[in-house]
């Protein structure tokens, strides 16, 4: 009897355990027709992290409120981690319905896989956005084989600037030539002034600075625009730019610790301390600049290289930078399509307008920018920047990173810049490394 009781107890426990596992699984999932339609949107707006992010999330909540049949799931991932998240989600056959991303080479794999919607399908249904609102060059950055696969969001707006207070204090003139620029290195050192915030960690902000030197040559502009096809890094502008960057390092014009003061937040925090002479940064860092430092900051042209061909007051790195992607399969779902159109309309127009008015982005949508009043932009650094750009007719030059056709190429290019900035490799070794990566990519295709 005792044995049977024990066996019965054991069987009972086993059955109980099985029920405990099976029941929650069976109970999960939506019952047909009962729950709202879930729309997953992966974006970088962490509620509360900044004014821009908080207001963006508020607009998204308004969209949800206006569409009671929709449940909006926010998947917040900031920075380069979004690249990793989307790849893993796609691998798991679990891509979000919509996500915030970048233009250019990073989209190529997803286009090849057929994941990204032809944006013309969205435009056909949009109530707030028309194709002609956005310039051809912005659309081109998201176009693959004649089909637009992502919705362009903003242009990257960069500045090279000086801390006017430091220059006034020591009666130094802003450098116009490369020789004047290099000569300042010793002067800064003698006075205990840090030269610049142009560090390099993960290629930021170094890859922009490097691109700005490359684009001082006419052949550099065309070489950059076509690097994705030529995969030839041994072009004169690329080689010369690397050599000039190494000159800057030797002259003490980078931060002493390029890695510690590299990447966006550390580099702008470094400049914001007030003892750094030059600042090179982009609009996504403006919100981290204090009012005090903004007042002292004067935008100036990048010094011209000895053999530079283009007027540096007329251009700086930056074209269309970010984009929104819509999952083609989600859009084909009739239950989701209407909600995706409403969401994309809000994101592309309402959030774009709000962000442009705050000054955190410059929208590619001309219809949005027409409604933005320059002097009412909240971010004072953005106001300064846009006034400078308008006064000097500054245009954006193409970016090497954006044109490189694979994630690995982009990473190898950025990692090699870290090494060049740190003096761990010579300019020739840098060119060799990046070229080797290009050759490996070519061989793999």
């Amino acid at each position: 009897m005792g044995n049977y009781r024990k066996k019965g107890l054991l069987i009972g426990i086993a059955v109980f355990l099985m029920i405990g596992i099976v029941l929650p699984v069976a109970a999960g999932g939506q019952k047909e027709g009962a729950a709202p339609v879930t729309i997953r949107f992966a974006h970088m707006w962490q509620d509360g992290a900044s004014e821009d992010a908080t207001k963006s999330v508020a607009i998204l909540k308004q969209v949800e409120a206006a569409n009671p049949g929709m449940k909006l799931v926010h998947e917040v991932v900031t920075g380069d981690e979004m690249r990793n998240k989307i790849r893993v989600d796609v691998a798991a056959n679990n891509a979000p319905d919509m996500w915030q991303f970048w233009v250019g080479g990073v989209l190529a794999d997803y286009v090849a896989k057929g994941i990204l919607l032809d944006i013309d399908n969205f435009l056909a249904k949009s109530k707030k956005v028309k194709k002609e609102d956005i310039s051809k060059s912005a659309w081109d950055s998201c176009t693959f084989d004649g089909v637009v696969r992502a919705f362009p969001r903003n242009i990257s707006v960069g500045i090279f600037a000086a801390n006017a207070e430091i220059f006034k204090k020591y009666s130094w003139a802003y450098p116009k030539s490369w020789a004047e620029f290099l000569a300042l290195g010793k002067k800064f050192d003698a006075q205990g002034v840090a030269s610049s915030n142009i560090g390099s960690k993960g290629g930021n902000p170094s890859h922009f600075w490097y691109g700005d030197l490359v684009c001082q040559y006419e052949a550099g502009v065309t070489g950059t625009a076509t690097i994705g096809k030529t995969l030839n890094f041994r072009q004169r502008p690329f080689i010369k730019a690397a050599e000039y960057c190494d000159e800057m390092r030797a002259a003490g014009l980078f931060p002493k610790d390029v890695m510690a003061n590299g990447d966006w937040a550390p580099s702008i925090a470094y400049y914001d301390q007030g003892n750094v002479a030059f600042c090179y940064t982009f609009a996504w860092c403006f919100a981290n600049m204090s009012e005090e430092i903004i007042q002292k900051t004067e935008i100036i042209p990048i010094p011209k290289l000895p053999d530079g061909e283009r007027d540096t007051s007329k251009f700086i790195q930056g074209t269309t930078n970010d984009a929104y992607c819509i999952n083609a399969k989600s859009f084909e779902d009739p239950k989701k399509q209407g909600y995706l159109v409403a969401l994309m309309d809000a994101v592309a127009f309402d959030i774009g307008l709000m962000e442009s008015q705050i000054g955190s982005i410059v929208s590619v949508n001309n219809n949005v920018m027409k409604q933005v009043k320059l002097d009412q932009i909240a971010d004072k650094m953005m106001v300064k920047t846009l006034k400078y750009r308008l006064a000097n007719n500054v245009s954006g030059s193409p970016m090497i990173w954006q044109e490189l056709p694979s994630n690995k190429l982009q990473f190898d290019y950025q990692a090699a810049l870290d090494e060049l900035w740190a003096g761990a490799i010579t300019p020739a070794e840098y060119i060799d490394k990046v070229q080797k990566s290009c050759d490996e990519y070519k061989a793999s295709k």
Partner: protein, 291 residues
């Protein structure tokens, strides 16, 4: 065996669920990784079988050689410092008359901090422009020793290794301390009566009796080093280049940045095999010397 046969159903019922979970999440994962290591796969298109090409390319890649060297040197230094300091601090706390719990808590404090927070903190500490390390060196007249701790290719690896070693010394102190507390006080008293001083007691009694515990610490340090990620990634992104990268960071970049999941799986298999070999090696060594 008779007992096993008698209670086989009971054993199956209680071990079964765990065995199923372990098989699915561990064994299936290992064999899947082994399969993917023999393919080229970007996680978007279908994997393409390439045989051992990933292994050949990994071992002929100079970056992989640097990362492998970093991992093994890091392991050697971690074993040296974490085990030795762990033993010394554990013994000192063990022999302390007052404040035992306080010292143990203080030593364990860094372990409970998040690795990311510690890495951020040390990034600031080692910042050659604004951090205190160079400033202190200048103040005490050691300016020639100042470095660009996070950018100088000669020192960046040791800079990144420092917080990794520092943060977990406390963990091994606590583990070894627990082992020491199981040593019978009579043995130590007998040794003292026979004229053994603190050093003799420490080296001839405490350490030999702790060999099994030390082995556990070695296994933990080994697996920890092969999984090392946060400090390297946050402080320097494994850079400049891969000069401060470890296998875990390199594997992450291969998978999630390069989108080369086949090669990342190759590195995962290298980690698995290397960790197994080292663990078995130390097991043999410890078995030779333990009581």
């Amino acid at each position: 065996m008779h007992i096993l046969r008698k209670y086989k159903w009971a054993i199956l019922v209680f071990v079964g669920p765990t065995l199923v979970l372990y098989t699915y999440f561990v064994m299936v994962s290992i064999f899947s990784t082994l399969y993917y290591s023999l393919t080229t796969w970007d996680a978007i298109s279908k994997p393409i079988f390439v045989g051992f090409r990933n292994y050949v390319e990994a071992f002929s890649n100079p970056d992989f050689a640097i990362v492998l060297r970093n991992t093994f040197v890091g392991l050697a230094l971690s074993l040296l410092f974490q085990v030795s300091f762990g033993l010394i601090f554990a013994y000192l706390i063990y022999r302390t008359l007052r404040g035992f719990r306080l010292y143990r808590a203080l030593v364990f404090l860094p372990v409970v901090l998040s690795q990311a927070a510690v890495a951020m903190m040390f990034t600031l500490v080692f910042n050659s422009d604004v951090g205190p390390i160079n400033e202190i060196l200048r103040l005490i007249g050691l300016e020639p020793l100042t470095r660009n701790w996070l950018s100088d290719k000669e020192v960046v690896f040791y800079t990144v290794l420092t917080p990794m070693i520092y943060q977990y010394i406390g963990l091994y102190v606590v583990i070894l301390l627990a082992g020491m507390q199981s040593i019978s006080e009579e043995i130590i008293e007998s040794a003292r009566i026979d004229g053994a001083g603190s050093f003799r007691v420490f080296f001839n009694i405490v350490i030999p009796m702790q060999l099994d515990i030390i082995f556990i610490c070695i296994v933990m340090i080994t697996t920890g080093m092969f999984k090392a990620f946060e400090h390297s990634y946050i402080m320097t992104w494994g850079g400049p280049g891969v000069r401060s990268a470890f296998l875990g960071v390199y594997m992450y970049f291969k998978a999630f940045v390069h989108a080369q999941y086949g090669r990342a799986s190759t590195i995962a298999m290298v980690i698995l095999v290397a960790a197994l070999i080292i663990t078995m090696l130390f097991r043999k060594i410890v078995q030779r010397f333990s009581y």
